[in-house]
Amino acid sequence: MNIPKPSVQIRDLDLHFGEVKVLQGLNLDVDEGEFLVLLGSSGCGKSTLLNCIAGLLDITDGQIFIQGENVTWKEPSERGIGMVFQSYALYPQMTVEGNLSFGLKNARVAKDEIKRRVARAAEVLQIEPLLKRKPGALSGGQRQRVAIGRALVRDVDVFLFDEPLSNLDAKLRADLRVELKRLHQQLKNTMIYVTHDQVEAMTLADRIAIMKGGKIMQLGTPDEIYNRPQNRYVADFIGSPSMNFLEGNLENAEFSTGDLKLPMAGYNFVNGGASNGETTIGIRPEHVVTGELVGRASVQTNVKVNLVEPMGSDTLVYADLAGDQIRIRMDGHSQVRTGDTLPIGIDAQRASLFDKKSETRL
């Protein structure tokens, strides 16, 4: 088995804007060929981190390595990175061809080599017929393709994407998302991708780094992030509709709140055994089962339905459970109405337990 080489390494990165500490003691390793997504709400520092990797922001302290080389003090163009921006940032006065070749001309690449690389990028991205046009005459999707092409022609080791799909409409975004994934499989470059869209993150990423307040809250595969969130913030952030949280007590491997008791016997505790004390349990809306599945669940109870939100493929049901309102994701065909009493089952092993004070996973 060969161990993947690290492509981008960040060591103890600090970034301060005056008094404001935007990034603090940040460490991150990105493997070669990996698709890493930086995910977080606005202001969490994810774009800032990307700009630091690109060299567009001068960092306060720490080191950045790309392909094993210390690039901390290097210019953006010397770091072996290509970057794609949210607003495309195409040079409006140049043709598509001019946009693609601008970086190569600056690097004094030979003319026929420029031609060859532009042609290849245009072929990969299927923008050959657009080469003589100016960006103003392109649609949003075409512009974004040109922007990706601009990174592509430079034959870089690492691609950086700063919310590249945010400016596109929903359908086009879904199409380009698939194309990006295909592109990554084809090129096998390291890609670091910033987004606030969790669907993009879950579908594209090999690993996701969830950020908050300039720190990485959890770094893991989409599966780990979704099913084993390391803290309450990550649990709450990922998943739509979001996770249900119930406050209660954990004693002798049994979680209790009000008259609801959930035996946590099969639960995979982080440090081996169950601890006791004030605890928050997080249950995803789809882990509350209804209908025939109720019989197979470890805990069964009845709830009163408050509100029903049909969403087409799914129906979201709001109901009272142990004094809290919970969300239940049901099949789109279900005929539940407000006021009904609904038998539900809870799969306690698939829930997540968090210490109430530290909000970390138990």
Binding site: N51, A54, L56, E75, P76, S77, I81, G82, M83, F85, Q86, S87, A89, L90, Y91, P92, Q93, F102, G103, N106, A107, R150, R154, D162
Partner: protein, 306 residues
């Protein structure tokens, strides 16, 4: 979402208004609006009309005193005289000398001030350095210092560097005094440009000058036109600096115009004075007509988004 079928509407309503609403050209609003506009236009254009008419009359006709009447006999003699024969002091070669001086002052001043200010603005907008905001503030304060307080210090300065009385001394003064407002103009324009464009160019390996010439310049033609118009009119119409920092041989056109019009000896040749004034005002006027549209666009883009 049931459609309202036509049958539910009664016949009288069906025969009623349909399509574009007709406009009443002679509405009260229009009469008031256009009346005001025409009145104000006349108020502003009347002096110009008088000037043009007077400049085309001979002196006997002017003495009759009907300043609004069109010329009975059109003559271009006053224009010729104003351009090439009118006397100021001992020189009797008209405004042509002043025109030449003004052009020789104007072109380098405009070129120099715009070049420096655009680079200043670009650096302040995109290459923030430690203290750049302080630097910018100091520069802007310069725009609010009354010129008069600096007249004499500049005389000394120009004398010390040996440029007093020369065209180049005046070029320097104009460039320096144009700097605050032009830098502000350019900085605001460049700040309003998408930052990601600048970042993309840096990733693409373009440096300070590469980004300036290849990315920023081609995108900022409107603001260059605005700056050019501001500078051309400002410098061409300048009288104060011209009369102080040059000598008779290098007087700009405005100073010479003043000397022609304000001469106290002999007969007042109103027709020649009018022609001379019109000739002097022609350059800014032509610039406005050529680039009016770009001017408005650039002002809007540069000022509002700042």
């Amino acid at each position: 979402m049931a459609d309202v079928s036509p049958s539910t509407i009664d016949a009288a309503s069906m025969a009623g208004p349909r399509g574009t609403k007709p406009k009443n050209r002679l509405s009260r609003r229009n009469i008031f609006l256009y009346g005001t506009l025409i009145l104000i236009s006349v108020y502003y254009l009347l002096p110009l009309y008088v000037m043009v008419v007077t400049s085309l009359k001979g002196m006997p006709e002017i003495r009759m005193g009907n300043i609004f009447s069109p010329p009975v006999e059109v003559t271009f003699e006053p224009w010729v005289k104003a351009w090439s024969e009118a006397c100021t002091g001992l020189n009797c070669d008209g405004l042509s000398r002043g025109f030449g001086n003004s052009v020789r002052i104007l072109i380098p001043s405009v070129a120099l001030s715009i070049t420096i200010a655009s680079i200043n603005g670009y650096a302040l907008a995109n290459w923030r350095f430690k203290g750049s905001e302080v630097f910018f503030t100091i520069l802007i304060i310069g725009a609010f210092v009354p010129y008069q307080t600096m007249l004499y210090p500049i005389v000394i300065l120009l004398r010390e560097i040996g440029l007093m009385g020369s065209v180049w001394g005046l070029v320097l003064v104009h460039s320096v005094f144009g700097m605050p407002i032009l830098t502000l103009l350019f900085r605001n324009y460049f700040t309003a440009m998408p930052e990601e464009l600048f970042k993309a160019a840096r990733v693409d390996g373009a440096g300070f000058w590469g980004i300036y010439f290849r990315i920023m310049l081609p995108m900022s033609v409107p603001i260059f036109v605005v700056a050019m118009i501001l500078q051309v009119t400002g410098i061409w119409n300048d009288f104060l600096f011209g009369v102080i920092y040059t000598k008779p041989a290098t007087y700009p056109m405005t100073v010479q115009l003043n000397n022609i019009v304000n001469s106290v000896q002999g007969v007042k040749e109103y027709n020649v004075n009018m022609a001379a004034t019109l000739l002097t005002g022609l350059v800014p006027l032509v610039i406005y007509f050529i680039s009016g549209k770009l001017f408005v666009r650039g002002i809007a883009a540069g000022a509002v988004k700042g």
